[in-house]
Symmetry: C2
């Protein structure tokens, strides 16, 4: 056997499928063999990569997969030769519990096992539920070709500080990594750090990849690709390694709300594209069908699906009602032509009429018992949205590996401005974590940055969003969403302030919104919008609970509030509280 190349290390940034041990093991085998061919000293894999990540309750329901993955690991060890492989796995620790461990494998054997001490500290993972910390601080040093390596897993790099070695190896699986932290640790120990990350998406959780190497002074000397599998070869002691461009520009943090989304567009785009691809691939899906309304939401969804699945696997259906304008119809068709996706038009006028007729008789009957029927209702609007969803689900039932797409965006999901079993229904919701103002920016960015320029007709970007489900009696034209809700710029800032600044009602009243710097907004108007904002947000909790799977784009988004809860967002002064307590009689 040829002598190994001293200090050369392969970073195996892989995209495992959660629970699919066979698939993941063969992927690991592939990377080990590549590394062996190059005679590397070492090839390192992400944390838990043989079972994938996150596991959630998988080991609770299927504890046997822990034993199963051990069997695969032992067989993988047998194929190792002079290149040492460091592979993250879930080591059985009784029932559903597991250690997050790495196996050091070489020359046909597992040479050593290192176990993690610190649990994951991020709200996106509940693995902590089944994580069993190592009982004792493990001896975590290995020596290869006269170079000493400390091996540590995930968060242990912060707590389980290694003795002085030549190189620190950190097997990780992080949604996003802060360069600063790793750079500081390298500096602190005056030792180079290699941190290998998972890539790929599991449902809503994105792993960006971008595995990194820092030299002993904390300087970045290598970075793997973002959003791609890769075997990146580095030699930290000789400062050898390529720095691939990082998608995420972590240098820009807005201290206040801004409409400047440009800095985050590429990451947003790639996050959603990887999210769609992995959701489809990992679930055996191939094709998407969506309604094309000529509006912004369905338009951006169509572009993203085209890029992720290929134009031949996307079907756009225009489903006009009586209210639908000719402009909307032609915009939808133009978009489909530009994207070269499959396209057809199916009016819902008959379905609407039949359902509406059935409803009028039925409601009159029900009204005999329940006498407080609404004077005005959204029922006709909803019939349209639900007839459309019925058509899309019909196509998905009739053609293999096909799912319909829910086109709700984040602003509307927050406000519950979407129809249950209508536009918010589908097998996947690509833009459910993109606010409307960001969506406009994304549409412009797509028109500029895709190989086919200006696929999105300018008229779609210019028109004011509205569901085209009802006529506004004031204007005689289809209702504009901002008139029913509030200006999107204002709405999106309220969302931003809640998620990023944890502001309450009073904070929002007492400081100027960006929208207020360019528009005259009366105090009463602002209060009305904020009242509506909080009321609708609370009312939307149920709808959010049945939202189809979507990719988390903003790490500030995930939030579960009990539906059966009630928050007085305005609070009370001490005097008010005293008054309420005094006047309440038992």
């Amino acid at each position: 056997m040829e002598k190994n190349k001293k200090g050369y290390i392969g970073i195996a940034q892989i995209n495992p499928t959660t629970g699919d041990i066979e698939h993941n093991s063969l992927k690991i085998k592939n990377f080990i063999e590549q590394a062996q061919k190059m005679n590397l000293d070492l090839v390192v894999f992400p944390e838990l990569c043989i079972v994938g990540h996150p596991l959630l309750d998988i080991t609770d329901r299927y504890p046997f997969i822990l034993e199963e993955s051990m069997k695969w690991l032992e067989e993988l060890a047998k194929i190792t030769k002079s290149t040492t492989a460091v592979v993250g796995f879930a080591e059985p620790a009784g029932g559903a519990k597991y250690h997050s461990s790495v196996a050091i494998m070489a020359n046909g054997k597992i040479q050593k096992i290192i176990r993690k001490i610190s649990p994951k500290q991020t709200p996106l993972f509940n693995d902590i539920k089944y994580f069993e910390p190592a009982q004792t601080k493990e001896e975590n040093i290995i020596e290869i070709n006269e170079i000493k390596y400390s091996i540590c897993i995930g968060e242990d790099i912060n707590t389980n500080l290694p003795q002085k070695t030549d190189i620190i190896i950190n097997c990780n699986a992080l949604s996003s990594q802060s360069d600063n932290d790793f750079s500081q640790i390298a500096t602190k120990y005056n030792t180079p750090i290699i941190t290998v990350n998972q890539v790929g998406t599991t449902d809503n959780i994105t792993f960006e990849g971008s595995s990194k190497v820092f030299d002993k002074n904390g300087k970045l000397i290598a970075r793997a690709k973002s959003f791609e599998e890769q075997l990146l070869v580095v030699n930290p002691l000789q400062e050898i390694g390529e720095i691939y461009p990082e998608t995420h520009n972590t240098n820009i943090h807005h201290e206040s709300f801004s409409l400047d989304y440009e800095f985050d567009m590429e990451r947003t785009y790639k996050t959603i594209i990887q999210g769609i691809k992995d959701y489809f691939n990992k679930n055996g899906l191939k094709r998407a069908v969506l309604g094309l309304s000529g509006g912004l939401d369905s338009t951006v969804c169509a572009v993203l699906l085209t890029d992720a699945l290929g134009a031949e696997n996307v079907y756009g259906v225009s489903m006009p009602s009586k209210i639908t304008s000719n402009e909307s119809k032609s915009d939808a068709e133009q978009l489909a032509n530009n994207l070269d996706i499959n396209y057809t038009q199916t009016p819902i006028i008959d379905m609407f009429e039949t359902t509406n007729n059935c409803f009028q008789k039925l409601f009159t009957t029900v009204e005999k018992n329940w006498k407080d029927r609404y004077q005005k209702s959204f029922t006709p609007d909803n019939i349209q949205a639900r007839s459309r969803a019925m058509i899309l689900w019909g196509i998905s039932n009739e053609f293999p590996s096909t799912i319909p797409i829910a086109t709700s965006d984040k602003s509307e999901a927050y406000m519950g401005y979407a129809t249950i079993n209508g536009d918010m229904s589908g097998g996947f919701a690509p833009i459910a974590d993109i606010t409307k103002t960001k969506l406009f920016a994304l549409a412009r960015w797509l028109n500029k940055n895709r190989p086919t320029k200006n696929a999105i007709p300018e008229s779609i970007i210019l028109k004011r969003p509205g569901a085209e489900l009802a006529i506004d009696p004031k204007t005689g034209k289809p209702l504009i969403a901002e008139d029913a809700l509030m200006p999107y710029e204002f709405l999106d800032e309220a969302i931003w302030r809640i998620e990023n600044k944890k502001e309450n009602y009073k904070d929002m009243i007492n400081s100027k919104f960006l929208y207020e710097t360019t528009h005259q907004v009366s105090k009463e108007q602002k209060k009305e919008w904020l009242d509506k904002f909080y009321k609708r947000m609370a009312g939307a909790l149920y709808k959010k609970s049945i939202m189809p799977p979507y990719v988390i784009v903003d790490t500030t988004s995930p939030c579960t509030i009990p539906i059966s809860s009630k928050i007085n967002y305005k609070g009370h002064s001490t005097e008010e509280i005293q008054n309420i307590i005094k006047t309440n009689l038992n």
Copy 2:
């Protein structure tokens, strides 16, 4: 002021609404004043009762409610007199973090605050995310009327063991409590224990109440009502206190699957009734509308809704298609009459025809691009189910405070044997955690135990379940669910084994199912059923993710598996693994 009654303690078993500090505070005030009127020494409340439980991410999104609840607590303290109140609250600990604390309040002041050390250890709560443990073991002893009390919160009764006092008070908020644990602790310390529990339901989490008192020998001497608010007065040192019947018979645990559900019927019934009531009350809802098919699922739902909401607030709609038998129609009507609920019949034949016509043209168009259209599909079945849901959502849109009911049961939810935007759609799903065999038992129990006997027509219980959406070509009659799936008795045992025994495929193959003791089942047949069971269970993950809110009845049910996951439930032998690794070429 009259001298207090020495050693008399009020157990304030209250039902708070999560986040509704005003509502909860006034409830607490009411109980404090009642206790004061009786001149009790002490009135004790559940853990965190001023903010309710579980909080999930509420304090992350609305951190100000922690400060707000402090203000209310301070004002509540002012109304206290000689009766000491022990009130659980969430004490601000920086940002979204809080201590689970209790305030000892008397004579118009907060006299002392005690903080919890141990986090909740149950998978049903994620409060641990924001729980800040007390830094130091607190002095937790108070003395009233010459009696010494140790006050401890929730799990601290296990870890933060008190010095010897006269009585241990445990402020708790537990989904279910094991008598044995508390009894043993009382015995261990040779000290009486009072454990006060929350009652009520928050979305899917049930608090049963049943607050308990044990004497120093571990003997139960008092128990509050199950599923009801109550101020129960006890005197542990004088062994004074009433033992109300407990709904949950914890003495019976089946070691293997059994169809004997009788022992658990009352708890099951009361859990769902409280779940419906609290979901409706806490969310400002009043009325339910549901489809009555003449089948078991919708029938049991109708009975439960009637008992929870009152017959006048339930609307049953029979929505026959061409396939619906006369028997189904008359069974549905008979049931509605027996329950005295509102009832009407609306055929879906027109909606079906119109939709089906639209679909036939559309599918032919789509087929030009996507040539692999299914030869056989469930599309016509789904049109029926979705038309029905459209009608129910229509009624809910048209009448205030009304939601449609999803009638899926647990066996079918596990198998994904339900239509998206069809029978699994609704604002609440009363029986989503009841398996089909248990549902039959519940139907019989309801007929025997409700004031109005035999409300459920015998013919509904006797017929074999089927969705009546399609004709079985083999029989010329509507398809029976067990023929499409497997016998429910077998299916429910497979579910039971996974949840309770964590069995894998091989375990199930190698041991006899109850069904096999009474029926001849070939090895091939059993394999076919199990293969179908695992395949459908994996395929149903997406559907489960969009299931409407429901009450957890089996504590073994909650389980989140990533949709984008793949488990080889059969596993591989070492030889097979070696073979796969060997033959896989890169």
